[in-house]
Amino acid sequence: MKLLHKEILIAKHLQKSVFKNSAIYSITFFIGVLLLFAAFSGWDNYKSQNETSEKYQHQSREDWLKNPDKNPHRMAHYGNFAFRKSTSLSVFEFGMEPFFGNAIFLEAHKQNTANFSEAGFSNSMLRFGEISIAMILQILLPLLIFFVGFNSVAYERENGTLKILLTQGITWKQLLFGKILGITSVVMLLFVPTIMVLVLIWLTLQNFTISADETIKLLLFIVFHFIYQMFFCIISVLVSASGKTSKKALVSLIGIWLIFTIILPRTTQAIGAYLYQAPSKIQFNSDIEKDILKQGDSHNPNDVHYKAIKDSLLTVYKVDSVEKLPFNYSGFIMTEGERISSNIYNKHLEELLKIYKKQNSFSKAISFINPYIAMKNLSMGLSNTDYDSYIDFQKQAEQYRYNMAQKMNGLQIKYISNKKPGPNDKPLTIDKKHWADIEEFHYEPKGVREVLKTEIIAVISLLLWIILLFVLIKIAAKNLKAI
């Protein structure tokens, strides 16, 4: 107990000297205001995003059901929409959300792009970033910690008080831990209220009915952000202790902060994007079209692939024309066409996603060096605003689209007469009750287990950083000199 006592004394002393500086009050006040602004705008954005997307998802569903009796293929072209919904943690961590398309139109034969992203509707201002609680916790707070911590040991050294402390029987280890404790306690004065507000908002948003999955995500979000703040407290003390003057310590800390939060994230991603070039949309689409043509073009009456299908059907059913088949022939062909084209599309998409993955691999790997990237990736994963969540949304939408198109083709095969109506006949239709057979699109965000699996590198690197820093404290405690 006696040992800890000394450390607490040092911590209290540091706290006192920090609060003697009047600048700390205005900074704290300012960050407080910023946090409120971030919480408010995050909330506002989340609510309006989800309300709009729910409203139109609902309306699009009603429109779908309201359709009168029709040919099912008309319905497959009428189509459905997948509107993206946000998870509750995205109030605090916007992640890549502004760059995600919010709506995908799902129709037969065609994989449409996810449209209407916030970025497409913004001018370049967006590229400066956004103010969210996560951004404040991940970028601004570490800098504040450095501003508070750069003096912690270096000042004592400059003043000569360091020697006095050490001759009074305080060990380097006690001094370092005491200083770290002191800075942590100062930062906690901002961190704890923020987390309290965050939890309160989070609970209110869900009307206090919470799921286990969401709760675990929130807890991880809080715990890892706490660990993250600790890094910076430790780093600031270590640098302050090893720097000759406080100015040197300050300059190095600012350098570390700039490299971690501004320079590295952009450069590593840029290296990935530079080395692995992804095709543009026009190239991507024309490649797909070429492959589909190679497989067989259902629009071309003389196409080999489709002619073979036709001939084999005629032999099996022992008829001489497709009109005599016991089921709707064009529905059958469209099923085949949809199967082929989506297979090819998915194959190309996989290749594209592989390129994207390679582009992202630099950033992922660098999270071992840079705790900011590790933290950012993890918190985006937990709030389902990361790259994988977006791809997951698009895949769920595509799965839904494929099922819808094939179900409509199935209805056509089963219920539509195989005899083509004459030019003046009424078009063939089926009863509208079938429209309800297609379920509404529902996006299921990835669970916490999945998130941790994809962001395992981030988790490991954050844990490694803790170990490393404690090892560094030990080494520093042995080797540091008072002069």
């Binding site: 709009t52 699009s60 760059f99 449209n115 201002m125 991603q269 840029a270 543009s280 629009h299 078009p427």
Partner: protein, 445 residues
């Protein structure tokens, strides 16, 4: 004296490393710009080849029905990319620079997005404008935060002050060599860019250059002002970095969040739903009703009467037309919302030099929201032109092989809007003069 000061400045290890680092990353930014330019160029060539093949192939399949053929074929419009765009990529990576449209309903096509890796978009490009906006100020701060305080702290200030007849002039000289070396670096980078990226030296480039110089001077003015407060080095470093943080991250991000929340665009989703229903419901209502609406929009096609058959291309394209016509209100609303957004951000940006510079650079490079809105407008005209050309041919069911398909090449839209000197330079000039005046007053006191 000036030469000595310069030698002293350039001999320091930190200075050399800083300048070299900035030169290196500046060159990297030019490489990235060139890659972007090449990608854009490839896309345009690709689009031209693709369109030719695509039309030829479809024209050979659907020889008998021009209406069916035009259901399939796409025509492309390119948003011309200036070489100077490689210096300020702006929103060109988010928004597609090529729009490919069929003559069917436009509203369902014109907001189609580009394929993108969202991780790249989030982290942003390292283009020249990033180097200028983010990194130049950092180096300026690193070079100037301790300009007087260092000498005071090391005790040489008194000697310097007594030896030089005019200390204020001495301070100016210290700034002068720093300004000169950074503007020299900027000029060098832009000179390399001219050759490497084949940027024409014209009025736009001139504005781009002057704007960059004024921006660099703006940061020196800030450092000058802070130096005039005569505080210690630590204080200067903290306060200058805080200013940087404010101007580069907090204010732009805060304003962006404000604008996004103030001008929300639920119209976008409403538009797609309206457009879908407006077209599809026509399948189930009286054909003549649809045609009457179509005649109202295009009186010149009144003489094409609804044929007796269950299906006709006249009816089909009239239905498609209604998808656009009946969602025109939402489309207009969305358009004006986006214009409001753009105007609001440009207005606010005038008071924040960093934002102002970025927006102006993008405006010169035609990579801002304004350019995108113009491109969408132009797409509408392009689409309308195609419609008017093909409608009578479809309604008359003209033979497919009689059309001159080879005449339908990829078209290019060139944004002709010009940047005015006053709008680009005035905000920065005013800020610079104010900061220098206040700094000067502080020194003279």
């Amino acid at each position: 004296m000036l030469v000595l000061l310069f030698k002293n400045f350039i001999r320091s290890k930190g200075t050399k490393i800083g300048l070299l680092f900035l030169l290196l990353i500046g060159i990297i930014s030019l490489l990235i710009g060139r890659q972007f330019q090449e990608k854009q160029q490839n896309n345009i060539t690709e689009a031209a080849v693709y369109q030719k093949e695509h039309i030829a192939r479809n024209a050979s399949f659907h020889k008998d029905e021009i209406g069916l053929l035009l259901y399939y074929i796409k025509f492309s419009l390119v948003n011309h990319t200036l070489p100077i765009n490689s210096l300020a990529i702006g929103q060109r990576d988010v928004n597609p620079s090529i729009q490919s449209v069929t003559i069917r309903g436009l509203e369902a096509q014109k907001y189609d997005s580009e394929l993108n890796n969202p991780s790249n978009l989030l982290s942003g490009n390292i283009d020249f404008s990033f180097v200028l906006l983010y990194l130049f100020p950092l180096l300026i701060i690193a070079f100037s935060y301790n300009i007087i305080s260092e000498e005071k702290e090391s005790g040489t200030w008194k000697i310097t002050a007594t030896q030089s007849s005019n200390t204020f002039l001495y301070i100016l000289k210290l700034f002068y060599i720093r300004i000169l070396s950074l503007i020299g670096l900027l000029t060098l980078l832009l000179l390399i860019a001219i050759f490497f990226l084949q940027i024409p030296v014209d009025k736009s480039f001139f504005i781009f250059y002057i704007l960059s110089v004024l921006y660099i001077l703006f940061w020196f003015s800030i450092c000058f002002f802070i130096a005039s407060l005569q505080k210690n080095s630590n204080f200067n470093a903290v306060i200058l970095l805080t200013i940087w943080l404010f101007l580069i991250i907090i204010l732009p991000a805060g304003i962006n969040t404000y604008i996004i929340n103030k001008y929300k665009v639920p119209e976008a989703l409403e538009l797609t739903l309206t457009q879908r229903n407006a077209y599809h419901e026509k399948w189930d209502i009286d054909k003549q009703k649809t045609l009457n609406k179509f005649y109202k929009h295009y009186p010149r096609f009144k003489d094409y009467k609804l044929p007796d058959s269950e299906f006709s291309w006249l009816w089909y394209y009239a239905m498609q037309q209604m998808g656009d016509d009946e969602s025109a209100v939402q489309s207009k609303e969305l358009e004006s919302k986006l214009e409001q957004r753009n105007n609001a951000s440009e207005l606010i940006a005038q008071f924040i030099p960093t934002l102002h510079t970025q927006i102006q650079l993008n405006e010169i490079a035609k990579s801002d929201l304004r350019n995108q809105l113009l491109f969408i407008k132009e797409t509408k005209q392009f689409h309308e032109k195609l419609r008017l050309h093909f409608y009578p041919k479809i309604f008359d069911n003209e033979p497919v092989n009689k059309q001159k398909w080879e005449n339908f090449k990829v078209e290019t839209f060139t944004d002709k809007s010009e940047t005015s000197f006053a709008k680009a330079f005035l905000p920065l000039i005013i800020f610079n003069l104010l900061l220098i005046a206040f700094g000067w007053r502080n020194f003279k006191r």
